[in-house]
């Protein structure tokens, strides 16, 4: 193997060569730089390959030919190989990216760049503390130089502030080093570590502690901890993005590794300080990033935060043990690759405001790159950060460090918040003018290449961490899961026309079900059918879209992949990974709506918040194990069980939009595209119910402080049903109305589950099936109408029954079913409901649900009346029936609904039997068409026939006596012997339930919305207050640093 020393030697040699290069060979300078960096990268890579494959073992290189302490030694082991590779590659691609800037500044700039990369590698490789100091100073000086590569007006002052603080740092570091040397007699890091326990008297050991504190705090300061980091942020903002990439990915990495080495010396006593500083930085950094509008400064804060998190992880090595490097490495590499990628990407854009990134809109590759980076930073599957976070949280929970766990998740949520808000800007904001992005792409391929490399690296890391995790968790690589691969393959097929992709998607879903349908028990079968076949059915509607529909299918299939993986998951990890996948997929789907930016954001935030609670719940339940079989939730130890239950239940309820957690749903479902609304409403909501079912099946009734949690659930469910329905009554927007109705319906289903008896569960399942069918159907119908009429405001429609008869039929059947009126299938749910509550011990929550029931009539009538009945408006006189492909699934749903109404046993009989093993009492008996419970009976076939016969007889009679009825037009109405003025003034539709609002409108005060708005406002205010710390003065920053040192000093309590 080539000695790793050449990484340093080659860089130095090349730097000198550049300096000595003759003037006429000037043009060679840039190739030489690239070649040197390429060689360095190759060297690291070859070592990484050799070390990882086991063909080489870690080596120590003695520089002066002798062993330490008499000479400096460098070490090349697996971590060093990974980190130097990361640094060198960042350097290489940044150099490529910097081409024009470097060529403009001449070869001295290139030399400085080489020195910087060399020094960063040196920090990683060296085992000598003073050598570390030297490399660090080299980095400082090189940074001072490279900052000036930027055209930014304030790069100069930023660089100076940086130098000021670096001076202070280096003073502390040097003092620390010399006293540490004095105490231990060596400068070698390993030597020091060995010497520390042998320190003779208390005085020496105390002196060493102090010296170590100075060294440690100095190196920690290199990680830009909050609040001593103003100087670094200015660099991030002002420097050339390619240099910021090095600064974030390279310098951060090197400094982290340096701190890691120091922790080796200091031993466990210093871990708490690392954790403390790290987590404070993580939370504060993310909080401060929240109000930022400058992209690079935001990335700076985010870098600070990420590195803080990794520092906290390093500080937790006492419990993380061998997994430290898996976790820290996962986080670090995700951070480095993503940040480098984002900084490079930022260089492609002209504007510096976050909203200026809308330039990327309509350009799939950069958007995909951004998505990749954002997902890596937020720790979404399948990227390394996901596994790292999972492991971290499990270890923390296993050791009872719950406050830290909460802070980690809180910070991560804020981070996801601003990243996804930013993504929303990209897709949904208007580009700030004539976008010059295309030109850049073709002009400067050397700037695009690094971004693409970062994307590739991100996915490669995803694979590698998947492999590592697979050995850790004893499961196959997540990235290789068939559904996920299928979904991801649509990324590659995105150039195909939409109908081809749609056929593929439908075929895939159906084939998956055909291949796996024998695997499911009766309960899962229902969900499997809804998720796969139901999904395929809603996808039929997608045929109406022409063109390529870029981005739709990867997102949709990601969601479906997540859902099928969810029902097939046996272990907590699989379950959670699937949960995250479906969340992410659905987020992208929802974001596609025209005005869905804020709603998609609140969706992803609530979902991720919920997901974090689920993760925490799983972690607490696992008690230190990396995962557990879902079934063993039943055996969670007593003191934890109710808490686990609570966390998981709240997590799942964010998805079912229980009251309090519901504010994301109306906007998200209403603003989604026509064929997306049925997916996210009819299908996706069931994922939350499935989670609750799994939870309740395993854990049953839990008590917390003497309160039965299922009882609390009952109340939540009842209030959800009531307020969901009530809110729906007052909507003017048809899709929002349906969305609120979904909240109410989910309340019913949740209520059934929370009853915790046989029929309650059966009722929940009836609602699952029914809600899928009718809500998908109604959303399609309303979506089709909205598409044709160009509005979703119901009062602007009216009288469409003649123009859109099929849609009318769908809505009619739908509302009869939703309202629970016999003979359609909604009645089954109501019947089971009454039987279920009779068997229950609770009384009072039912009252709320009874109140909720009839309210459904209000909004349902309004839905059908204001759209299809009443007065036809002039401009809608020529609208046509909804497109065939939107109507076709509706008609299938009508058939399904009627079938389910007549023979509910087809779907329910098996489940009823299956539920016997959990709730042996209170099942139904199915004899012929009749269904009998302990309390009552019901014969759907007979009902359908009787109602049908009576109806037909009366109808035939009316036809006979009224056969000559004269069809009239819309204004042929009795109008107090006058005539109506115009259709708009005659259609009674707006504020339809005004009297109702007078009576009960006070219940619809948006208290929950106000609450969550206040929470986000508080977060933003906190961030804004924090920003005042950073007044831009270099001296203040130096003072911050010293204050930081003093505060930490007293907190450490030396």
């Amino acid at each position: 193997m080539t000695s790793p020393l050449y990484i340093i030697a080659v860089a130095l040699a090349a730097a000198f060569l550049l300096g000595l290069l003759r003037e006429q060979w000037r043009s060679l300078a840039y190739p030489v730089t690239l070649a040197a960096l390429a060689f360095m990268s190759w060297l690291s890579a070859s070592w990484l390959w050799a070390l990882a494959s086991g063909s080489a073992s870690p080596v120590d290189i003695y520089t002066a030919g002798t062993a330490p302490p008499f000479a400096i030694n460098l070490r090349m082991a697996l971590p060093e190989a990974v980190l130097t590779l990361l640094i060198n590659l960042t350097g290489l691609f940044s150099a490529l990216y910097l081409k024009s800037a470097l060529l403009a500044r001449g070869r001295r700039g290139m030399a400085v760049l080489l020195v910087a990369i060399m020094a960063l590698s040196g920090i990683v490789l060296t085992r000598d503390i003073f050598n570390l100091f030297v490399f660090l100073e080299l980095v400082v000086i090189a940074t001072g130089g490279l900052v000036l590569l930027s055209d930014h007006a304030h790069a100069l002052s930023a660089g100076f502030k940086y130098l000021v603080v670096s001076q202070v740092i280096s003073i502390l570091l040097l003092i620390g080093i010399i006293f540490a040397y004095h105490a231990t007699g060596t400068l070698n890091i390993d030597g020091m570590a060995e010497a520390v326990p042998g320190l003779q008297n208390a005085g020496a050991s105390q002196a060493f502690e102090l010296a170590f504190f100075l060294m440690f705090i100095a190196l920690v300061a290199e990680l830009k901890p909050f609040p001593a980091n103003g100087w670094a942020l200015d660099i991030y903002e002002a420097a050339h993005p390619a240099f910021s990439a090095i600064f974030s990915a390279g310098a951060g990495t090197a400094a982290l590794y340096a701190v890691d080495k120091l922790l080796l010396i200091g031993g466990p006593a210093w871990l708490d300080m690392a954790t403390g500083v790290g987590i404070v930085t993580f939370v504060a950094g993310n909080l401060l990033a929240l109000p930022q509008s400058n992209d690079r400064r935001l990335l700076g804060y985010s870098s600070v935060a990420q590195i803080g998190l990794i520092l906290a992880v390093l500080g937790q090595r006492d419990i993380l043990g061998e997994d430290t490097y898996f976790i820290a490495g996962g986080l670090l590499l995700s951070h480095a690759v993503a940040k480098a990628g984002l900084f490079w990407l930022s260089g492609l854009l002209a504007g510096r405001q976050l909203v200026d990134w809308a330039d990327l809109r309509e350009r799939p590759m950069p958007v995909f790159a951004f998505v990749t980076f954002a997902a890596m930073l937020s720790g979404l599957p399948p990227f390394p950060g996901f596994y790292a976070k999972w492991e971290l949280v499990h270890h923390l929970a296993g050791s009872g460090r719950l406050v830290l766990l909460a802070l980690v998740l809180f910070g991560a949520l804020i981070e996801a918040g601003y990243l996804f808000r930013w993504f929303g800007y990209i897709l949904k904001r208007e580009p700030p003018g004539e976008a010059d992005f295309c030109r850049v792409i073709f002009d400067k391929p050397h700037r695009v290449l690094p971004v693409m490399v970062a994307v590739a690296a991100g996915w490669a890391l995803a694979f590698v961490w998947g492999e590592l995790a697979s050995s850790l968790l004893g499961r196959s690589n997540l990235l290789l899961a068939l559904p996920l691969l299928f979904a991801l393959s649509f990324l590659l097929l995105d150039w195909l026309p939409a109908w081809v992709k749609n056929s593929l998607a439908i075929a895939g879903l159906v084939a998956f079900f055909a291949a796996t349908w024998t695997d499911y028990d009766a309960l899962r079968m229902i969900f499997a059918i809804i998720f796969t076949l139901g999904g395929a059915l809603t996808l039929l509607a997608s045929y109406h879209v022409h063109g390529r529909r870029v981005g739709f299918y990867p997102a949709a299939m990601l969601m479906f992949a997540g859902m099928v993986m969810l029902i097939r998951a046996d272990t907590s990890f699989d379950f959670f990974a699937a949960w995250e996948l479906l969340t992410v997929g659905s987020y992208f789907l929802i974001l596609r709506g025209k005005h869905s930016e804020p709603h998609a954001l609140s969706y992803i935030l609530f979902s991720l918040g919920g997901a974090f609670l689920i993760m925490a719940g799983f972690a607490i339940a696992a008690q230190g194990a990396p995962q557990f079989a879902l079934a063993s939730l039943a055996h969670v130890a007593a003191p934890f069980a109710p808490w686990v239950f609570l966390l998981l239940a709240i997590g799942f309820m964010t998805k079912t939009a229980a009251i309090g957690l519901h504010i994301w749903l109306p906007g998200a479902h209403a603003e989604a595209e026509t064929d997306v609304s049925p997916m996210v409403s009819g299908i996706l909501l069931k994922a939350g119910l499935y989670g609750l079912m799994v939870l309740l099946l395993a854990m049953g009734k839990q008590q917390l402080y003497g309160i039965e949690l299922t009882h609390v659930l009952l109340w939540v469910a009842a209030l959800t049903a009531l307020l969901g329905n009530l809110m729906a009554v007052f909507q003017e927007d048809a899709k929002r109305l349906l969305a609120y109705s979904s909240i109410g319906q989910m309340g019913y289903a949740l209520f059934g589950l929370a009853l915790m008896n046989h029929l309650g569960w059966l009722m929940a399942l009836v609602f699952v099936i029914n809600h899928y069918i009718y809500k998908a159907m109604l959303f399609l119908a309303v979506g089709g109408v909205a598409k044709r009429t160009g509005t979703r405001e119901m009062y602007r429609m009216g009288g469409l029954i003649r123009l859109m008869p099929l849609s009318f039929i769908a809505v009619l059947v739908g509302i009869i079913a939703v309202s629970g009126v016999p003979p359609l299938s909604g009645f089954g749910g109501r019947w089971v409901f009454y039987n279920a509550i009779l068997a229950s011990d609770y009384r009072l929550p039912m009252v709320v649900l009874f109140l909720a029931g009839p309210i459904a009539f209000l909004y349902l009538f309004r839905l059908i009346y204001t759209i299809f009945l009443g007065q036809l408006k002039d401009e809608l006189r020529r609208v046509k029936e909804a497109p065939f492909w939107i109507v076709l699934p509706q008609m299938i749903y009508v058939a399904l609904l009627i079938a389910f109404a007549v023979v509910p046993g087809l779907a329910l009989h098996r489940v009823d039997t299956y539920l016997n093993q959990f709730f042996p009492e209170g099942g139904l008996s199915w004899a012929g068409g009749e269904i009998t419970s302990n309390y009552g009976y019901w014969n759907p076939v007979a009902i359908m026939i009787i109602v049908g016969v009576i109806f037909c007889t009366v109808f035939a009679w009316l036809l006979f006596v009224n056969r000559r009825a004269q069809p009239v037009k819309q204004f042929n109405i009795v109008f107090s012997a006058e005539r109506p003025f115009r259709p708009e003034t005659t259609h009674f539709a707006w504020n339809f339930f005004a009297p109702y609002r007078k009576a009960l409108g006070f219940l619809t005060q948006p208290l929950v919305t106000i609450f969550w708005t206040t929470v986000t406002d508080l977060l933003h205010t906190a961030g804004d207050l924090g920003r005042r710390l950073y007044n831009g003065n270099g001296q203040t920053y130096a003072f911050h640093f010293l204050a930081f040192v003093v505060i930490v000093f007293f907190l450490v309590g030396l």
């Binding site: 044709r788 009429t789 160009g790 509005t791 002039d874 401009e875 809608l876 006189r877 020529r878 609208v879 004269q966 069809p967 009239v968 037009k969 819309q970 204004f971 042929n972 009795v974 012997a977 006058e978 005539r979 003025f981 115009r982 259709p983």
Partner: protein
């Protein structure tokens, strides 16, 4: 013609412009037709008996004579015992009582209300004003002879007629109905053009279709 009834161009949600003609698009333009009774006489007689026993008066007071209708509901006169009721909508009424003088303005409303009732339907002219204009015989603004504009089945004279006279008149109307002679609606359909011409002669702001279904 009022602006809201004029032809206009509107733009559909798909951006295509097209013409809306309110009189054609909002109103049914079919003319009334003569309706024959049941084919079997005894059935028609039975129906006529029922019609006579179920006179539903449109609650529409056109003039001062309307004040004489109210006492009919009181215990003293109690018209209900004769199967007479008041309905608030012409759709459900079959007897239009023109109660007193009829101004030209009200005539339009009366015509509309009458046409919106279902066949068979009856018109009773109450008071002298409906017969010859009464004390308003030379008014520029009242119509003089109601049966030029609507097919009147029965006049009840007086200025005003007492409620007793009204009851007597309704009893007479019942006899006409039972005899199958109260076919005003068919008469109106048969002589539709004549009625329309008369109506349009006095009503100058004719802003409705020829027949108000």
């Amino acid at each position: 013609m009022k602006p809201e009834l004029m032809k206009r161009m509107v733009k559909g949600p798909d951006g295509v412009e097209f013409e809306v003609e309110p009189m054609r698009d909002y109103y049914c333009d079919a003319p009334p037709t003569v309706q024959h009774g049941a084919y079997i006489k005894i059935v028609e007689d039975f129906f006529n008996w029922a019609r006579s026993q179920s006179l539903w008066i449109l609650g529409f007071g056109t003039g001062c004579g309307a004040i004489e209708m109210r006492p009919l509901m009181t215990p003293r006169f109690d018209a209900y015992r004769y199967g007479i009721q008041w309905r608030p909508t012409p759709r459900q009424a079959n007897l239009l009582v023109i109660s007193g003088y009829l101004s030209v303005k009200t005539l339009k409303r009366a015509i509309r209300a009458y046409e919106q009732m279902q066949n068979p339907k009856y018109v009773v002219g109450l008071g002298s004003c409906t017969i010859n204009g009464g004390m308003y015989w030379d008014s520029y603004n009242t119509i003089k002879c109601l049966d030029q504009y609507l097919p009147v089945d029965l006049y009840i004279t007086g200025c005003m007629p007492r409620p007793e006279a009204l009851l007597a008149g309704f009893e007479d109307l019942k006899k006409l109905i039972r005899a199958g002679q109260a076919e005003g609606a068919n008469q109106y359909a048969e002589r539709f053009d004549w009625y329309k011409a008369n109506q349009k002669q006095v009503i100058h702001d004719w802003d409705m279709p020829d027949y108000n279904w």
